[in-house]
């Protein structure tokens, strides 16, 4: 039975361009306190544009209604559980939003004198230190803007070290369970990708690894816990194998929410890793970003970190640009500072013991779901789960219902779906990550919904296959979207207007 949601009316809304009327405005500027300048005279006629065709013209109330109405079409953490595996959709504390807007921080210009930037620099320094302690690594750069950007930075560091040692090598090894950004990153850094098959426990196959690690291999990129939510129990061994051949161990830290305070990558052989502050450290996803992907390294890689590096000088913190071995910049300025503020606020709020408790709760929640859903869904890999659990749609597929259908049906039950069809080594994966911030009531409701859906698959598979039924937008035709891409609004032509 669906008990978590009811049907209610929801406001429609046109696109801004369709809502516009000539002359409407939502702004007012102060009067100029200097003489106006004739743009055509100052810039030359050819450099001055005509009016921007189609650009919005709405009043302030129309603007706020537009975005309020749009917002009501979204599901979010603030509505309920968001069990997207690999995404760590935990609660985003609102105090973090407040501190990120503190004037002296939000309005700090990246080029303002360092003497006037000590507050901002201290935020960064304190975060770097905390992340080093949490990961057990020696140095941290905060420059990368997201996980994938961190990966690229990390692999470039590997490359730079190996190059300095004489040969950047050719290949990056990547388990077949890896996230797509891993191989894409390797390619972006100029490496060939070699996939490593997982063993039947869903783990890194040590024998296969041993065989694959040649003098051509620059590094192994491994996610730990891996994308099945399983801790790579042979991680120390893997590191040894790699190190023996002069290769490095890169860890994708997207799943650090399973480890904080419990185990540190720096203690189990990792040479370089990235973190996703927008996962483990609670900064909000914002519908797709901004994130932040700090990279933590062992000291051997430290000389190569992007410029500038934060250092403590005579007059306080400063940016050090004199880093001859650095790979260079990976982005302008110093990183997604506003996201760093939020992540540090989170770390300060939880503190050392609190962070560990969060990890414990995250792992407990995942295991609770696993235990309750195991009778109803196929568990392809029975290894112990950490912060997430991955089922397959094997049983439901027999009725023609796939993981994507189950996910859509979950929407009718008032939940955001789990991650669908990833990792790809599981046929029809249901990847469920509850995070520590869900309470038992919400977990139980989720479990009940999943069990109920499993029942519906038996009783009425069509119901599930055509879900969702209760949303203002029913199942979306993604195929047509890709086949005949319409990527922007255009003013209606005579013909189109009649449809």
């Amino acid at each position: 039975m669906i008990t978590k949601v009811r049907s209610h009316l929801s406001q429609n809304e046109l696109l801004l361009f369709e809502r516009s009327s000539p002359g409407k405005r939502a702004y007012q500027l102060p009067e100029l306190d200097v003489p106006a300048v004739d743009a055509r005279e100052a810039l030359g006629n050819a450099n001055v544009r005509e009016e921007i065709p189609g650009f919005p013209e709405v009043s302030e109330v129309e603007a706020i209604r537009h975005f309020t109405r749009l917002s009501s079409w979204n599901y979010s953490i603030d509505h309920g559980m968001y069990p997207l595996g690999s995404c760590t959709m935990k609660y985003n504390p609102r105090v973090n939003e407040l501190v990120a807007r503190i004037k002296g921080l939000a309005w700090a210009h990246p080029y303002q004198p360092e003497s006037l930037s000590q507050g901002a620099l201290q935020v960064m320094a304190r975060l770097e230190a905390a992340l080093a302690e949490i990961t057990g690594m020696d140095a941290v750069t905060l420059q990368p803007a997201a996980g994938a950007h961190g990966e690229l930075t990390g692999i470039l560091l590997v490359r730079a070290l190996l190059q300095q040692r004489g040969n950047p090598r050719k290949k990056i090894l990547i388990p077949d369970s890896a996230h797509g950004t891993n191989p894409a990153t390797a390619a972006s850094a100029g490496y060939a990708v070699e996939n490593i098959r997982s063993c039947e426990k869903g783990l890194l196959d040590v024998a296969a690894l041993e065989a694959a690690v040649t003098e051509d291999v620059a590094a192994l990129m491994v996610t730990n816990p891996n994308t099945l939510g399983v801790f790579e129990e042979n991680i120390v061994k893997a590191a040894e194998i790699l190190h023996r051949k002069g290769a490095l161990l890169y860890m994708d830290g997207a799943n650090m929410n399973a480890l904080v305070g419990v185990a540190r990558p720096g203690d189990f052989g990792v040479d370089v890793m990235h973190l996703n502050l927008h996962k483990t450290f609670s900064t909000p996803h914002g519908g797709g970003g901004p994130g932040s992907g700090p990279v933590a390294v062992k000291s051997v890689l430290e000389p190569f970190l992007p410029v500038p590096r934060l250092t403590r000088g005579k007059h306080g913190w400063r940016h050090d640009y004199n880093r001859p071995d650095s790979i260079g910049r990976v982005r302008a300025f110093y990183g997604n500072f506003g996201v760093l503020v939020r992540a540090l606020a989170y770390i300060l709020a939880y503190g050392g013991p609190g962070l560990r408790n969060a990890t414990v709760d995250a792992v407990l929640n995942a295991n609770y779901i696993r235990r309750k859903l195991e009778p109803h869904y196929d568990l392809p890999f029975p290894s112990p789960s950490m912060h997430e659990v991955v089922f397959s749609d094997d049983r439901q597929a027999a009725k023609g219902v796939r993981t994507g259908d189950l996910a859509k049906r979950l929407i009718d039950y008032g939940f955001h779906p789990y991650t669908v069809s990833f990792p790809t080594i599981v046929h029809g994966a249901l990847m469920i990550e509850p995070t520590e911030t869900e309470g038992k009531a919400e977990l139980d409701a989720f479990i009940e919904a999943m069990i109920s859906i499993a029942g519906e698959v038996e009783a009425d598979p069509e119901l599930v296959k055509t879900a969702p039924h209760s949303t203002r937008t029913s199942r979306v035709d993604e195929v047509t979207a890709a086949r005949r891409p319409i990527l922007r609004w255009k003013p209606p032509t005579r013909d189109a207007a009649s449809t």
């Binding site: 405005r25 939502a26 702004y27 500027l29 810039l43 030359g44 544009r49 650009f55 919005p56 013209e57 603007a63 975005f67 979204n74 503190i102 002296g104 921080l105 210009h109 303002q112 006037l116 507050g119 949490i134 803007a145 997201a146 950004t181 894409a184 990153t185 801790f231 129990e233 120390v236 419990v262 185990a263 189990f268 996703n276 996803h285 914002g286 519908g287 797709g288 970003g289 901004p290 790979i327 982005r331 302008a332 506003g338 606020a345 709020a349 939880y350 013991p353 792992v363 609770y368 235990r371 955001h416 779906p417 669908v420 199942r475 979306v476 979207a481 891409p485 990527l487 922007r488 609004w489």
Partner: protein
């Protein structure tokens, strides 16, 4: 719950971890503090900043008024705490505003398609160059020296490891614009992309058409970068470019010590298959209603893995929303009026100092300091609670006597007069 899992202690949750990897001590971090102490701590850090100073810094990070509506909208949990809109049926809010964003970027830049955002302007430019490499199947990139120095550094980092040699072309020492002759000489048949910026790092409006002709003549693509999005309210859009890549920080983002900002890439329809980043497209739902969804994801890492156009996954969606709200609030009239105010302020200031270049400029320009170094001028200004300009010697030894000054609608005449007095 522990009992439901057949466990007695939470330690058992981790009993399968090899002993060697377990952390046997507490993290060396202080224990948690309350919300009030957190606010206090960060307020103290903020107070160590530049509150109360006027500032004439630009150079890729601009000070513009932020309409109150922006934070009102992005503070809504429905936007703030949603993930990437993979489940279209419960993400139409996010999908719709991204579609609007893509449209507005096209309207502003004169391009046909734009993506859902990149990390920032600098990575957008590097990705644009890589995109040109894929499109032309050539490898070389020529970048103008008056492109933002940090953008060029990022491009160099990308280039170095992707087998994409990057060559710089010079600027005209009189006008501050690209030296077209030098550019012509640097672009060859192996060149994939010519990268210029307009307004360039010196604030000067470039001759995009001329650069396009040079690039196209050799079969290269022209990438036009921008760092000051407000300029697009007034300047002719770079419609001769093949790819436009820029930074949207000016659209409602406070400087925030360098981030988060949002990059954008826009291009022609024919190039979309090589476009990096997410795209939202219009479609229908099963009942025939208009709907939006992420599309053309066969370009992306989660489908194509090592063959993807980029490794980007998380982008800057909420920042793009801020920019969208900003563009909505200002709208057609407002963006122009805003740009005109910037123009007027910068020209007022320029009229009181000694501009270095003769090219037409928007809200930034290079000024010579007379009788003292730029650093000394800045120091004198600091004492008057004014942060001056960016000394250029660090990036351009030949401009060691010059500052890059920026004036926006927020600059006050009285503060500009202070600058004039010290330069």
């Amino acid at each position: 719950m522990l009992r439901d899992c057949g466990l007695e202690t939470t330690a058992q949750l981790f009993s399968h971890l090899p002993e060697a990897v377990k952390l046997k001590r507490d993290l060396d971090l202080p224990k948690g503090i309350s919300e009030y102490e957190i606010v206090e701590w960060f307020e103290a850090r903020g107070a160590e900043g530049a509150n109360g100073y006027a500032s004439f810094l630009g150079a890729g990070a601009y000070r513009h008024f932020r309409p109150v509506l922006v934070d009102t909208v992005v503070s809504r949990g429905e936007f703030l705490t949603a993930y990437t809109p993979y489940q279209a049926e419960i993400s139409q809010g996010t999908l719709t505003h991204i579609f609007e964003f893509q449209t507005m970027i096209c309207q502003l830049t004169g391009m046909e398609v734009a993506n859902a955002s990149m990390y920032d302007g600098s990575t957008a430019v590097a990705e644009a160059a890589a995109m040109a490499v894929r499109l032309t199947r050539k490898g070389r990139v020529v970048v103008a020296r008056n492109v933002h120095p940090e953008y060029r550094e990022v491009l160099a980092t990308f280039g170095k490891y992707q087998g994409m040699p990057v060559v710089e072309s010079d600027y005209d020492p009189d006008t501050g614009r690209i030296d077209l002759q030098d550019l012509e000489s640097k672009v060859d048949g192996l060149t994939a992309a010519v990268v210029i910026q307009s307004p360039n790092f010196f604030g000067i409006v470039e001759d995009v058409k001329a650069a396009a002709e040079i690039a196209h003549r050799k079969g290269a693509l022209l990438v036009v970068a921008f760092t000051e999005a407000v300029s697009l309210g007034l300047l002719e859009p770079p419609a001769d470019a093949d790819i436009v890549a820029g930074e949207l920080q000016s659209f409602a983002l406070p400087p925030s010590y360098g981030g988060p900002y949002a990059g954008t890439i826009a291009t022609r329809e024919k190039h979309i298959r090589q476009m990096p980043g997410r795209l939202v497209g219009e479609t229908r739902d099963s009942r025939g209603n208009r709907a939006f969804c992420l599309t053309l994801s066969t370009r992306e890492q989660h489908i194509r893995r090592e063959k993807a156009t980029s490794n980007i996954c998380t982008n800057q969606a909420l920042i793009a929303l801020m920019a969208t709200v900003f563009m909505t609030v200002y709208g057609k009239q407002g963006l122009r009026e805003l740009a005109e105010q910037n123009l007027a302020k910068a020209h007022y200031l320029a009229g009181k100092v000694t501009p270095r270049f003769s090219g037409p400029f928007f809200n930034e320009f290079v000024a010579r300091t007379i009788g003292k170094s730029p650093e000394a001028a800045n120091q004198a200004l600091l004492e008057k609670k004014v942060i001056g300009g960016v000394p250029l010697g660090k990036y351009y030894p030949e401009l060691a006597d010059s500052l890059l000054l920026c004036a926006t609608e927020m600059s006050r005449r009285a503060d500009m007069d202070k600058v004039a007095n010290e330069l």
